[in-house]
Amino acid sequence: MSKETIEEHLKKQGLTRRDFLKLSGMLAVAAGFKFDVPEATAGGAVARRARGYSADRRVLKAMETRPRVPVIWLEFSDCAGCTEAISRSNSPTLGNLVLNTLTIEYHETLSAAAGFQAEQAKQDAMAKYAGQYILVVEGAIPVAEGGIHCTIGGRTALDILKEAAAGAAAIIATGNCAAYGGLPRAKPNPTDAKGVWELVTDKPVVNIPGCPAIPEATTGTIAHFVLFGALPELDALGRPKPFYGVTVHDRCLRRPFYEAGKFAGSYDDEGARKGWCLYKLGCKGPTTYNACASIKWDSGLSFPIQSGHPCLGCSEPNFWDGGGFYQGQSAPLERPEVTAVAAAAAVGAAAGVGTALINRSNKKAHGGEK
């Protein structure tokens, strides 16, 4: 690992102390750091906290003392949308700072090098920083037929992942594909695509699902590891709680309309124009854990629901198969075919006739009324 601290590196890039302080504060907020310090009381009054306890001070201190951490970014069955999103992340581009300036060693889409040179650079980085680098994975890993459905440089995604994961300090699966299989896993899933955490079980894997993943969530999680050498607290689906702690619905700007029962019935009716709740149009916000409604996209400009489109639930497993995108969330996932209903009805009616015949013959046998 490079001996140079993050601050030293940034100084060389021409960052002033003032900019450095601002950056620390921004990183602290972006990474969603929360520092719970017990309140000290003196004579009934709450004592003032020491300055070192504030979040931005902690980040500042870490940046001054922590070494840079290299990042290796792999892409498998993906659309590079998560990389696209990151390259457009919050100005002055947290993504740039964390990934380009600070740390990135290998990134297929962003690297200037290509082909064997790029692969060689990756091999070198993996050897040099063995056991220390962060591995970021974008895209699902197809495992059907030995994983031949996604190959890079003649090697399967599965093979490349296992190799890179072996020397990683931590693995971050960015986007729904890398986390839970995403689109490649949608029914009928011909390539048997899987998420990283199903294949790598001996390393900590952080899932940053989304389609694409919110860039600040990816970079914030990387920043957390870079600064503190530890991963943020995760939920049951492996997602960092600072970003996936509450549902989209909980922070939605249209929530008051939900509470008041005012829904848009189509994309072009009065309700839609007035900005009412999109529940009836299939919004999956109530069961979707993500920070879209608070961090938003394009420097906090907007997010799908704000622009009038229901949430698709892209940060949840199997969201492609989780019911129609434009069908209300209360609707069942499968609608029985007419033939299935008819078959059930026929079975019921036939059994009924059978029982009725038995009843009738019993009645006759016991001399019932004619």
Partner: protein, 225 residues
């Protein structure tokens, strides 16, 4: 197993199976009851049978239940009348005119209809839940009801009560995470769908048949209802 996957199961294959079982089961019940046979009618009609049926439906369902003092049920036992009335009204308004439930019908039938505003449905749902609690307490207190109530009666109460309470809680995001309540709601609804044909909750269908037959008899005998 996460709540999401449990929910997917409850909304997907389990609901699918439960719905088909419900359809098959109700048809079985209907066919066996209808095929029990009719006694021969040897008496001339005094009035119109069809008129009796129409009156029985219109007055008996749409008018009399809302005018308490004409009902013997009310004068004899107002608790049953009020609790039962609140429960049935709240249940049907919620199932048919609540937005999320209309969307279920829409996804199954292919068409939807206008719904009532949430606050209206909400108060009726609260009324329904309170009605169910009144009925349960009454069932425990009333000596006769208590004697004739076995596990089947309490289970029937429970399988209807759980979907109502979880549905109300999830609408208002009370106490648990939304998907947890949604999962419980769906599992209880799936169980309810399976349980209806097997229990006396099937009266939701037979009620209309008995109304028709009583109305026919009233009409035939010239009784004014």
């Amino acid at each position: 197993m996460t709540w999401q996957s449990a929910l997917e199961f409850a909304r997907g294959p389990l609901f699918y199976g439960a719905l088909l079982f419900f359809i098959a089961g109700m048809l079985y019940r209907l066919v066996t009851v209808v095929a029990l046979g009719w006694s021969k009618d040897r008496v001339p009609d005094k009035g119109s049978k069809a008129g009796g049926v129409v009156r029985s439906f219109l007055k008996g369902i749409l008018i009399w239940p809302f005018i308490p003092w004409v009902k013997n049920t009310f004068s004899r036992n107002p608790l049953i009348y009020i609790g039962g009335g609140l429960f049935h009204l709240g249940l049907f308004v919620t199932i048919l005119l609540g937005t999320p439930h209309m969307l279920v019908w829409k996804s199954l039938l292919g068409f939807g209809w206008p719904t009532l505003p949430l606050p209206v449905v909400d108060w009726l749902a609260v009324g329904g839940i309170i009605g169910m609690l009144i009925l349960l307490v009454h069932r425990r207190i009333n000596p006769v009801l208590r004697l004739i109530s076995g596990p089947a009666e309490y289970l029937a109460w429970l399988v209807v009560f759980v979907p109502m309470v979880t549905g109300y809680m999830m609408t208002h995001h009370l106490f648990f995470r939304y998907e947890v309540l949604y999962t419980f709601h769906m599992f209880s609804v799936d169980f309810l769908l399976i349980w209806i044909p097997l229990s006396r909750i099937s009266h939701f269908m037979f009620y209309f048949f008995s109304r028709a037959i009583h109305g026919q008899q009233f009409g035939k005998r010239g009784v004014r209802v």
